[in-house]
Symmetry: C2
Subunit: 225 residues, 2 copies
DNA sequence: CATATTTTGTACCTATAGGTAAAGAAAGAA
DNA sequence: TTCTTTCTTTACCTATAGGTACAAAATATG
Protein backbone atom coordinates (compact mmCIF):
# COMPACT_ATOMS: atom_id res chain seq x y z
CA UNK A 1 0.00 0.00 0.00
CA UNK A 2 2.74 2.43 0.99
CA UNK A 3 4.78 1.36 -2.02
CA UNK A 4 2.30 2.92 -4.39
CA UNK A 5 2.96 6.33 -2.90
CA UNK A 6 6.68 5.89 -3.27
CA UNK A 7 6.75 4.86 -6.98
CA UNK A 8 7.63 8.11 -8.73
CA UNK A 9 5.45 11.18 -9.30
CA UNK A 10 1.95 10.27 -8.11
CA UNK A 11 -0.97 11.63 -10.15
CA UNK A 12 -3.17 14.19 -8.44
CA UNK A 13 -6.43 12.79 -7.05
CA UNK A 14 -9.28 12.55 -9.58
CA UNK A 15 -11.97 15.17 -9.39
CA UNK A 16 -14.77 14.24 -11.81
CA UNK A 17 -16.75 17.12 -13.20
CA UNK A 18 -13.84 19.48 -12.89
CA UNK A 19 -14.75 21.14 -16.19
CA UNK A 20 -17.68 22.81 -14.44
CA UNK A 21 -15.23 24.62 -12.18
CA UNK A 22 -11.97 25.02 -14.10
CA UNK A 23 -11.92 26.15 -17.70
CA UNK A 24 -10.49 23.47 -20.02
CA UNK A 25 -8.06 25.98 -21.49
CA UNK A 26 -6.66 26.70 -18.04
CA UNK A 27 -6.38 23.01 -17.30
CA UNK A 28 -4.52 22.46 -20.57
CA UNK A 29 -1.95 25.09 -19.63
CA UNK A 30 -1.25 23.16 -16.44
CA UNK A 31 -0.75 19.91 -18.34
CA UNK A 32 -3.70 18.20 -16.71
CA UNK A 33 -5.61 15.44 -18.53
CA UNK A 34 -8.06 16.76 -21.09
CA UNK A 35 -11.45 15.38 -22.07
CA UNK A 36 -13.25 15.05 -25.35
CA UNK A 37 -13.58 18.44 -27.03
CA UNK A 38 -17.00 19.96 -27.71
CA UNK A 39 -18.41 19.33 -31.15
CA UNK A 40 -20.13 22.71 -31.21
CA UNK A 41 -19.25 26.28 -30.39
CA UNK A 42 -21.06 27.32 -27.19
CA UNK A 43 -20.93 30.97 -28.23
CA UNK A 44 -22.72 30.19 -31.46
CA UNK A 45 -25.23 28.07 -29.54
CA UNK A 46 -26.00 30.92 -27.15
CA UNK A 47 -26.62 33.16 -30.14
CA UNK A 48 -29.09 30.69 -31.55
CA UNK A 49 -30.75 30.32 -28.16
CA UNK A 50 -31.10 34.10 -28.03
CA UNK A 51 -32.97 34.01 -31.32
CA UNK A 52 -35.40 31.36 -30.10
CA UNK A 53 -36.13 32.96 -26.74
CA UNK A 54 -36.43 36.35 -28.42
CA UNK A 55 -39.09 35.06 -30.80
CA UNK A 56 -41.04 32.73 -28.52
CA UNK A 57 -40.40 33.99 -25.01
CA UNK A 58 -39.20 31.99 -22.04
CA UNK A 59 -42.20 29.84 -21.12
CA UNK A 60 -43.16 28.97 -24.69
CA UNK A 61 -39.67 27.73 -25.58
CA UNK A 62 -39.31 23.99 -25.00
CA UNK A 63 -36.18 21.86 -24.69
CA UNK A 64 -37.15 20.35 -28.03
CA UNK A 65 -37.19 23.81 -29.63
CA UNK A 66 -33.69 24.40 -28.32
CA UNK A 67 -32.44 21.02 -29.50
CA UNK A 68 -33.85 21.67 -32.95
CA UNK A 69 -32.53 25.19 -33.31
CA UNK A 70 -29.13 24.76 -31.71
CA UNK A 71 -28.58 21.53 -33.62
CA UNK A 72 -27.11 19.64 -30.66
CA UNK A 73 -28.37 16.73 -28.57
CA UNK A 74 -30.27 17.20 -25.36
CA UNK A 75 -27.43 15.67 -23.38
CA UNK A 76 -24.95 18.16 -24.78
CA UNK A 77 -27.40 20.96 -24.16
CA UNK A 78 -27.81 20.21 -20.49
CA UNK A 79 -24.18 19.27 -20.05
CA UNK A 80 -23.09 22.61 -21.47
CA UNK A 81 -25.67 24.97 -19.99
CA UNK A 82 -27.16 23.23 -16.98
CA UNK A 83 -30.79 24.27 -17.34
CA UNK A 84 -33.22 26.09 -19.55
CA UNK A 85 -33.16 29.03 -17.20
CA UNK A 86 -29.38 29.25 -17.14
CA UNK A 87 -29.32 29.23 -20.93
CA UNK A 88 -31.97 31.94 -20.95
CA UNK A 89 -29.75 34.10 -18.77
CA UNK A 90 -26.84 33.54 -21.14
CA UNK A 91 -29.10 34.50 -24.04
CA UNK A 92 -30.27 37.68 -22.33
CA UNK A 93 -26.66 38.60 -21.49
CA UNK A 94 -25.78 38.05 -25.11
CA UNK A 95 -28.56 40.41 -26.12
CA UNK A 96 -27.20 42.99 -23.70
CA UNK A 97 -23.68 42.61 -25.06
CA UNK A 98 -24.68 42.86 -28.72
CA UNK A 99 -28.00 44.53 -29.47
CA UNK A 100 -28.38 46.71 -26.40
CA UNK A 101 -24.72 47.64 -26.42
CA UNK A 102 -24.89 48.56 -30.10
CA UNK A 103 -27.59 51.11 -29.35
CA UNK A 104 -25.60 52.67 -26.53
CA UNK A 105 -22.48 52.86 -28.67
CA UNK A 106 -24.42 54.41 -31.50
CA UNK A 107 -25.81 57.06 -29.15
CA UNK A 108 -22.30 57.77 -27.86
CA UNK A 109 -21.04 58.84 -31.25
CA UNK A 110 -20.05 62.48 -31.75
CA UNK A 111 -21.77 64.84 -34.12
CA UNK A 112 -25.24 66.36 -34.36
CA UNK A 113 -27.54 64.68 -31.88
CA UNK A 114 -30.90 64.95 -33.56
CA UNK A 115 -30.01 62.90 -36.66
CA UNK A 116 -28.24 60.46 -34.37
CA UNK A 117 -31.42 59.90 -32.37
CA UNK A 118 -33.40 59.53 -35.57
CA UNK A 119 -31.07 56.95 -37.07
CA UNK A 120 -31.00 55.06 -33.76
CA UNK A 121 -34.76 54.77 -33.63
CA UNK A 122 -35.02 53.88 -37.29
CA UNK A 123 -32.39 51.20 -36.85
CA UNK A 124 -34.47 49.64 -34.09
CA UNK A 125 -37.60 49.72 -36.20
CA UNK A 126 -35.76 47.76 -38.85
CA UNK A 127 -34.43 45.32 -36.26
CA UNK A 128 -37.89 44.75 -34.81
CA UNK A 129 -39.55 44.25 -38.16
CA UNK A 130 -36.58 42.71 -39.91
CA UNK A 131 -36.19 39.44 -41.78
CA UNK A 132 -36.13 37.48 -38.51
CA UNK A 133 -39.78 38.31 -38.10
CA UNK A 134 -41.76 40.69 -35.90
CA UNK A 135 -40.06 39.89 -32.65
CA UNK A 136 -39.78 43.30 -30.98
CA UNK A 137 -37.10 43.85 -28.34
CA UNK A 138 -35.89 40.89 -26.30
CA UNK A 139 -35.44 43.00 -23.17
CA UNK A 140 -38.93 44.46 -23.47
CA UNK A 141 -40.45 41.04 -24.10
CA UNK A 142 -38.67 39.72 -21.04
CA UNK A 143 -39.76 42.67 -18.93
CA UNK A 144 -43.43 41.97 -19.63
CA UNK A 145 -43.14 38.19 -19.36
CA UNK A 146 -40.95 37.88 -16.28
CA UNK A 147 -40.84 41.34 -14.69
CA UNK A 148 -41.23 40.93 -10.96
CA UNK A 149 -41.40 37.14 -11.25
CA UNK A 150 -37.77 36.29 -12.01
CA UNK A 151 -35.16 38.24 -10.09
CA UNK A 152 -32.20 37.59 -12.36
CA UNK A 153 -33.98 38.36 -15.62
CA UNK A 154 -35.67 41.42 -14.18
CA UNK A 155 -32.34 42.72 -12.94
CA UNK A 156 -30.72 42.25 -16.34
CA UNK A 157 -33.55 44.12 -18.02
CA UNK A 158 -33.47 46.91 -15.44
CA UNK A 159 -29.78 47.48 -16.02
CA UNK A 160 -30.24 47.52 -19.80
CA UNK A 161 -32.99 50.09 -19.44
CA UNK A 162 -30.85 52.20 -17.14
CA UNK A 163 -27.85 52.09 -19.40
CA UNK A 164 -29.96 53.06 -22.40
CA UNK A 165 -31.55 55.89 -20.46
CA UNK A 166 -28.09 57.06 -19.47
CA UNK A 167 -26.96 57.08 -23.09
CA UNK A 168 -30.01 59.14 -24.02
CA UNK A 169 -29.26 61.57 -21.22
CA UNK A 170 -25.68 62.03 -22.32
CA UNK A 171 -26.81 62.58 -25.89
CA UNK A 172 -29.28 65.23 -24.77
CA UNK A 173 -26.65 66.95 -22.64
CA UNK A 174 -24.26 66.92 -25.58
CA UNK A 175 -26.95 68.52 -27.68
CA UNK A 176 -27.46 71.16 -25.02
CA UNK A 177 -23.75 72.01 -24.93
CA UNK A 178 -23.62 72.43 -28.68
CA UNK A 179 -26.75 74.54 -28.65
CA UNK A 180 -28.86 71.98 -30.49
CA UNK A 181 -31.37 71.76 -27.63
CA UNK A 182 -32.60 74.37 -25.17
CA UNK A 183 -30.18 74.38 -22.21
CA UNK A 184 -32.97 74.77 -19.65
CA UNK A 185 -34.61 71.43 -20.46
CA UNK A 186 -34.32 68.71 -17.85
CA UNK A 187 -32.02 66.16 -19.48
CA UNK A 188 -33.08 63.43 -17.03
CA UNK A 189 -36.73 63.91 -17.88
CA UNK A 190 -36.00 64.01 -21.61
CA UNK A 191 -33.99 60.79 -21.33
CA UNK A 192 -36.78 59.03 -19.40
CA UNK A 193 -39.25 60.14 -22.01
CA UNK A 194 -37.04 58.93 -24.85
CA UNK A 195 -36.64 55.55 -23.17
CA UNK A 196 -40.36 55.18 -22.63
CA UNK A 197 -41.08 56.21 -26.20
CA UNK A 198 -38.56 53.77 -27.57
CA UNK A 199 -39.88 50.91 -25.46
CA UNK A 200 -43.48 51.70 -26.37
CA UNK A 201 -42.58 51.93 -30.03
CA UNK A 202 -41.06 48.47 -29.92
CA UNK A 203 -44.14 46.99 -28.29
CA UNK A 204 -46.30 48.57 -30.97
CA UNK A 205 -43.92 47.22 -33.58
CA UNK A 206 -44.53 43.73 -32.28
CA UNK A 207 -48.29 44.20 -32.13
CA UNK A 208 -48.90 46.11 -35.34
CA UNK A 209 -45.76 46.22 -37.39
CA UNK A 210 -46.78 49.18 -39.57
CA UNK A 211 -43.91 51.42 -40.57
CA UNK A 212 -46.06 54.52 -41.08
CA UNK A 213 -47.28 54.60 -37.47
CA UNK A 214 -43.79 53.87 -36.15
CA UNK A 215 -42.30 56.60 -38.29
CA UNK A 216 -44.85 59.04 -36.91
CA UNK A 217 -43.78 58.18 -33.39
CA UNK A 218 -40.16 58.88 -34.25
CA UNK A 219 -41.04 62.20 -35.84
CA UNK A 220 -43.16 63.27 -32.90
CA UNK A 221 -40.56 62.18 -30.34
CA UNK A 222 -37.86 64.20 -32.05
CA UNK A 223 -40.14 67.19 -32.52
CA UNK A 224 -40.81 67.16 -28.79
CA UNK A 225 -37.16 67.67 -27.92
CA UNK B 1 -95.18 2.66 -35.67
CA UNK B 2 -97.46 5.23 -37.17
CA UNK B 3 -99.50 5.25 -33.95
CA UNK B 4 -96.59 6.85 -32.06
CA UNK B 5 -96.77 9.85 -34.29
CA UNK B 6 -100.51 10.16 -33.74
CA UNK B 7 -100.52 10.08 -29.92
CA UNK B 8 -100.76 13.75 -29.08
CA UNK B 9 -98.00 16.39 -29.28
CA UNK B 10 -94.77 14.51 -30.03
CA UNK B 11 -91.61 15.87 -28.38
CA UNK B 12 -89.05 17.43 -30.66
CA UNK B 13 -86.08 15.22 -31.52
CA UNK B 14 -83.31 15.17 -28.97
CA UNK B 15 -80.23 17.23 -29.75
CA UNK B 16 -77.62 16.65 -27.07
CA UNK B 17 -75.20 19.50 -26.48
CA UNK B 18 -77.81 22.03 -27.45
CA UNK B 19 -76.68 24.39 -24.70
CA UNK B 20 -73.55 25.16 -26.74
CA UNK B 21 -75.79 26.56 -29.48
CA UNK B 22 -78.94 27.85 -27.84
CA UNK B 23 -78.81 29.93 -24.69
CA UNK B 24 -80.53 28.16 -21.75
CA UNK B 25 -82.69 31.22 -21.07
CA UNK B 26 -84.00 31.14 -24.63
CA UNK B 27 -84.71 27.44 -24.34
CA UNK B 28 -86.59 28.04 -21.10
CA UNK B 29 -88.86 30.59 -22.78
CA UNK B 30 -89.78 27.95 -25.37
CA UNK B 31 -90.69 25.43 -22.66
CA UNK B 32 -87.92 23.04 -23.66
CA UNK B 33 -86.39 20.72 -21.05
CA UNK B 34 -83.76 22.37 -18.92
CA UNK B 35 -80.54 20.93 -17.49
CA UNK B 36 -78.73 21.36 -14.25
CA UNK B 37 -77.92 25.00 -13.59
CA UNK B 38 -74.34 26.23 -13.28
CA UNK B 39 -72.98 26.40 -9.74
CA UNK B 40 -70.77 29.38 -10.56
CA UNK B 41 -71.09 32.70 -12.35
CA UNK B 42 -69.21 32.55 -15.66
CA UNK B 43 -68.77 36.32 -15.66
CA UNK B 44 -67.06 36.21 -12.30
CA UNK B 45 -64.93 33.31 -13.50
CA UNK B 46 -63.78 35.25 -16.56
CA UNK B 47 -62.80 38.12 -14.30
CA UNK B 48 -60.67 35.80 -12.20
CA UNK B 49 -59.14 34.26 -15.32
CA UNK B 50 -58.25 37.77 -16.48
CA UNK B 51 -56.34 38.33 -13.25
CA UNK B 52 -54.36 35.11 -13.64
CA UNK B 53 -53.47 35.62 -17.30
CA UNK B 54 -52.64 39.24 -16.58
CA UNK B 55 -50.15 38.28 -13.90
CA UNK B 56 -48.60 35.16 -15.42
CA UNK B 57 -49.12 35.48 -19.15
CA UNK B 58 -50.67 32.93 -21.46
CA UNK B 59 -48.04 30.20 -21.70
CA UNK B 60 -47.13 30.21 -18.02
CA UNK B 61 -50.73 29.79 -16.88
CA UNK B 62 -51.66 26.12 -16.42
CA UNK B 63 -55.07 24.46 -16.20
CA UNK B 64 -54.27 23.83 -12.56
CA UNK B 65 -53.71 27.55 -11.98
CA UNK B 66 -57.11 28.24 -13.47
CA UNK B 67 -58.83 25.54 -11.44
CA UNK B 68 -57.25 26.92 -8.27
CA UNK B 69 -58.04 30.56 -8.94
CA UNK B 70 -61.51 30.19 -10.42
CA UNK B 71 -62.49 27.75 -7.70
CA UNK B 72 -64.26 25.35 -10.07
CA UNK B 73 -63.49 21.82 -11.22
CA UNK B 74 -61.62 21.08 -14.39
CA UNK B 75 -64.71 19.47 -15.89
CA UNK B 76 -66.74 22.63 -15.33
CA UNK B 77 -63.90 24.74 -16.65
CA UNK B 78 -63.67 22.95 -19.97
CA UNK B 79 -67.41 22.48 -20.23
CA UNK B 80 -67.99 26.19 -19.81
CA UNK B 81 -65.12 27.66 -21.80
CA UNK B 82 -63.93 24.97 -24.20
CA UNK B 83 -60.20 25.52 -24.05
CA UNK B 84 -57.49 27.50 -22.37
CA UNK B 85 -57.16 29.67 -25.44
CA UNK B 86 -60.88 30.41 -25.65
CA UNK B 87 -60.87 31.44 -22.00
CA UNK B 88 -57.86 33.63 -22.67
CA UNK B 89 -59.78 35.41 -25.41
CA UNK B 90 -62.69 35.96 -23.05
CA UNK B 91 -60.26 37.34 -20.47
CA UNK B 92 -58.69 39.72 -22.97
CA UNK B 93 -62.11 40.90 -24.10
CA UNK B 94 -63.01 41.50 -20.49
CA UNK B 95 -59.89 43.61 -20.11
CA UNK B 96 -60.89 45.60 -23.17
CA UNK B 97 -64.41 46.14 -21.83
CA UNK B 98 -63.31 47.23 -18.37
CA UNK B 99 -59.75 48.53 -18.04
CA UNK B 100 -59.12 49.67 -21.58
CA UNK B 101 -62.61 51.14 -21.90
CA UNK B 102 -62.22 53.01 -18.61
CA UNK B 103 -59.18 54.80 -19.97
CA UNK B 104 -60.98 55.82 -23.16
CA UNK B 105 -63.99 57.05 -21.22
CA UNK B 106 -61.78 59.01 -18.89
CA UNK B 107 -60.07 60.68 -21.84
CA UNK B 108 -63.44 61.52 -23.36
CA UNK B 109 -64.47 63.68 -20.44
CA UNK B 110 -64.90 67.42 -20.97
CA UNK B 111 -62.79 70.06 -19.29
CA UNK B 112 -59.14 71.06 -19.41
CA UNK B 113 -57.16 68.43 -21.28
CA UNK B 114 -53.77 68.64 -19.67
CA UNK B 115 -54.90 67.70 -16.15
CA UNK B 116 -57.05 65.01 -17.72
CA UNK B 117 -54.04 63.44 -19.41
CA UNK B 118 -52.06 63.67 -16.21
CA UNK B 119 -54.71 61.99 -14.11
CA UNK B 120 -55.15 59.29 -16.75
CA UNK B 121 -51.46 58.42 -16.73
CA UNK B 122 -51.26 58.56 -12.96
CA UNK B 123 -54.27 56.27 -12.70
CA UNK B 124 -52.50 53.73 -14.87
CA UNK B 125 -49.34 53.92 -12.81
CA UNK B 126 -51.39 53.06 -9.75
CA UNK B 127 -53.13 50.23 -11.60
CA UNK B 128 -49.82 48.78 -12.77
CA UNK B 129 -48.18 48.98 -9.37
CA UNK B 130 -51.30 48.42 -7.32
CA UNK B 131 -52.16 45.89 -4.63
CA UNK B 132 -52.57 43.14 -7.23
CA UNK B 133 -48.84 43.27 -7.79
CA UNK B 134 -46.57 44.63 -10.50
CA UNK B 135 -48.44 43.25 -13.45
CA UNK B 136 -48.26 46.07 -16.00
CA UNK B 137 -50.88 46.25 -18.74
CA UNK B 138 -52.55 43.04 -19.91
CA UNK B 139 -52.75 44.25 -23.50
CA UNK B 140 -49.08 45.20 -23.56
CA UNK B 141 -48.06 41.92 -21.97
CA UNK B 142 -50.08 40.07 -24.59
CA UNK B 143 -48.60 42.14 -27.41
CA UNK B 144 -45.08 41.12 -26.46
CA UNK B 145 -45.93 37.51 -25.68
CA UNK B 146 -48.18 36.68 -28.61
CA UNK B 147 -47.81 39.55 -31.07
CA UNK B 148 -47.58 38.07 -34.55
CA UNK B 149 -47.96 34.52 -33.23
CA UNK B 150 -51.66 34.46 -32.33
CA UNK B 151 -54.01 36.17 -34.76
CA UNK B 152 -56.99 36.61 -32.47
CA UNK B 153 -55.04 37.97 -29.51
CA UNK B 154 -52.93 40.22 -31.71
CA UNK B 155 -56.07 41.62 -33.33
CA UNK B 156 -57.67 42.35 -29.97
CA UNK B 157 -54.57 44.17 -28.81
CA UNK B 158 -54.29 46.11 -32.06
CA UNK B 159 -57.82 47.38 -31.74
CA UNK B 160 -57.29 48.38 -28.12
CA UNK B 161 -54.20 50.32 -29.11
CA UNK B 162 -56.05 52.00 -31.94
CA UNK B 163 -59.00 52.96 -29.79
CA UNK B 164 -56.69 54.41 -27.14
CA UNK B 165 -54.74 56.31 -29.76
CA UNK B 166 -58.02 57.67 -31.10
CA UNK B 167 -59.06 58.87 -27.65
CA UNK B 168 -55.71 60.61 -27.27
CA UNK B 169 -56.15 62.26 -30.65
CA UNK B 170 -59.60 63.55 -29.78
CA UNK B 171 -58.33 64.89 -26.48
CA UNK B 172 -55.51 66.72 -28.24
CA UNK B 173 -57.91 68.16 -30.81
CA UNK B 174 -60.20 69.29 -28.02
CA UNK B 175 -57.25 71.01 -26.38
CA UNK B 176 -56.43 72.69 -29.65
CA UNK B 177 -59.97 74.01 -30.06
CA UNK B 178 -59.95 75.49 -26.56
CA UNK B 179 -56.53 77.00 -27.13
CA UNK B 180 -54.79 74.78 -24.59
CA UNK B 181 -52.41 73.41 -27.23
CA UNK B 182 -50.88 75.03 -30.30
CA UNK B 183 -53.31 74.57 -33.18
CA UNK B 184 -50.55 73.82 -35.68
CA UNK B 185 -49.40 70.64 -33.97
CA UNK B 186 -50.15 67.39 -35.73
CA UNK B 187 -52.79 65.74 -33.53
CA UNK B 188 -52.18 62.33 -35.09
CA UNK B 189 -48.49 62.47 -34.33
CA UNK B 190 -49.13 63.70 -30.81
CA UNK B 191 -51.58 60.86 -30.22
CA UNK B 192 -49.13 58.25 -31.53
CA UNK B 193 -46.46 59.66 -29.27
CA UNK B 194 -48.78 59.61 -26.27
CA UNK B 195 -49.71 56.01 -26.95
CA UNK B 196 -46.09 54.95 -27.29
CA UNK B 197 -45.15 56.81 -24.14
CA UNK B 198 -47.98 55.25 -22.20
CA UNK B 199 -47.14 51.75 -23.41
CA UNK B 200 -43.46 52.22 -22.69
CA UNK B 201 -44.23 53.59 -19.25
CA UNK B 202 -46.24 50.50 -18.41
CA UNK B 203 -43.45 48.19 -19.51
CA UNK B 204 -41.02 50.11 -17.34
CA UNK B 205 -43.54 49.89 -14.50
CA UNK B 206 -43.47 46.13 -14.77
CA UNK B 207 -39.69 45.98 -14.98
CA UNK B 208 -38.73 48.57 -12.39
CA UNK B 209 -41.77 49.71 -10.52
CA UNK B 210 -40.28 52.98 -9.22
CA UNK B 211 -42.76 55.81 -8.93
CA UNK B 212 -40.17 58.58 -9.28
CA UNK B 213 -39.03 57.48 -12.72
CA UNK B 214 -42.61 56.94 -13.88
CA UNK B 215 -43.63 60.34 -12.59
CA UNK B 216 -40.77 61.91 -14.53
CA UNK B 217 -42.04 60.26 -17.70
CA UNK B 218 -45.51 61.70 -17.16
CA UNK B 219 -44.10 65.16 -16.52
CA UNK B 220 -41.93 65.04 -19.60
CA UNK B 221 -44.71 63.70 -21.81
CA UNK B 222 -47.05 66.50 -20.78
CA UNK B 223 -44.34 69.12 -21.10
CA UNK B 224 -43.75 67.94 -24.67
CA UNK B 225 -47.30 68.75 -25.72
C1' DC C 1 -92.97 9.60 -11.36
C1' DA C 2 -90.15 9.02 -15.86
C1' DT C 3 -87.68 11.72 -19.33
C1' DA C 4 -84.69 15.04 -21.42
C1' DT C 5 -81.01 17.91 -20.67
C1' DT C 6 -77.05 20.11 -18.59
C1' DT C 7 -73.58 20.52 -15.02
C1' DT C 8 -70.29 18.43 -11.93
C1' DG C 9 -66.80 15.41 -10.05
C1' DT C 10 -63.74 11.81 -10.85
C1' DA C 11 -61.08 9.11 -13.50
C1' DC C 12 -58.51 8.67 -17.20
C1' DC C 13 -55.58 9.66 -21.37
C1' DT C 14 -51.51 10.96 -24.53
C1' DA C 15 -47.77 13.86 -25.30
C1' DT C 16 -44.38 16.49 -23.70
C1' DA C 17 -41.67 19.38 -20.24
C1' DG C 18 -37.57 19.39 -18.15
C1' DG C 19 -34.53 17.02 -17.10
C1' DT C 20 -31.07 12.55 -15.29
C1' DA C 21 -28.22 8.17 -15.91
C1' DA C 22 -25.14 5.44 -18.00
C1' DA C 23 -22.32 3.68 -21.56
C1' DG C 24 -19.31 4.59 -25.21
C1' DA C 25 -16.35 7.98 -28.00
C1' DA C 26 -12.61 11.21 -28.27
C1' DA C 27 -8.91 13.74 -26.73
C1' DG C 28 -4.05 14.56 -24.12
C1' DA C 29 -0.79 12.73 -20.51
C1' DA C 30 2.19 9.16 -18.66
C1' DT D 1 -1.28 1.64 -24.50
C1' DT D 2 -3.49 2.83 -20.60
C1' DC D 3 -5.50 6.39 -17.68
C1' DT D 4 -8.18 10.28 -16.81
C1' DT D 5 -11.29 13.30 -18.19
C1' DT D 6 -14.98 15.44 -20.88
C1' DC D 7 -18.38 15.16 -24.42
C1' DT D 8 -22.06 12.69 -26.93
C1' DT D 9 -25.86 9.50 -27.54
C1' DT D 10 -29.47 6.92 -26.13
C1' DA D 11 -32.45 5.56 -22.96
C1' DC D 12 -35.02 6.59 -19.32
C1' DC D 13 -37.67 9.12 -15.65
C1' DT D 14 -41.47 11.80 -13.08
C1' DA D 15 -44.73 15.36 -13.20
C1' DT D 16 -47.74 17.88 -15.52
C1' DA D 17 -50.06 20.09 -19.71
C1' DG D 18 -54.17 20.13 -21.79
C1' DG D 19 -57.60 17.98 -22.23
C1' DT D 20 -61.68 13.81 -22.76
C1' DA D 21 -65.09 10.31 -20.96
C1' DC D 22 -68.44 8.95 -18.08
C1' DA D 23 -71.40 8.33 -14.28
C1' DA D 24 -73.98 10.77 -11.01
C1' DA D 25 -76.50 14.97 -9.64
C1' DA D 26 -79.62 18.65 -10.52
C1' DT D 27 -83.10 20.95 -12.92
C1' DA D 28 -87.75 21.41 -15.90
C1' DT D 29 -91.45 19.22 -18.25
C1' DG D 30 -95.23 15.68 -19.28
Amino acid sequence: MVGRLATGAARPPRVPGLAKIIDPQVKKSYGLPMGRPKQFDPDVAVGKAMDVFWRKGYAATTPQDLVDELGIGKGSLYNAFGSKHALFERALERYRDTQSLALVELLDQPGPVRPLLRSAMELLIETDLGPSGRRGCFAVNTATELGGRDEVSTGLVQRMFERTEGAFREAVERGQRTGEFAPDRDADAAASLLLATLVGMRVIARAQGGRERLGRIVDAALAAL
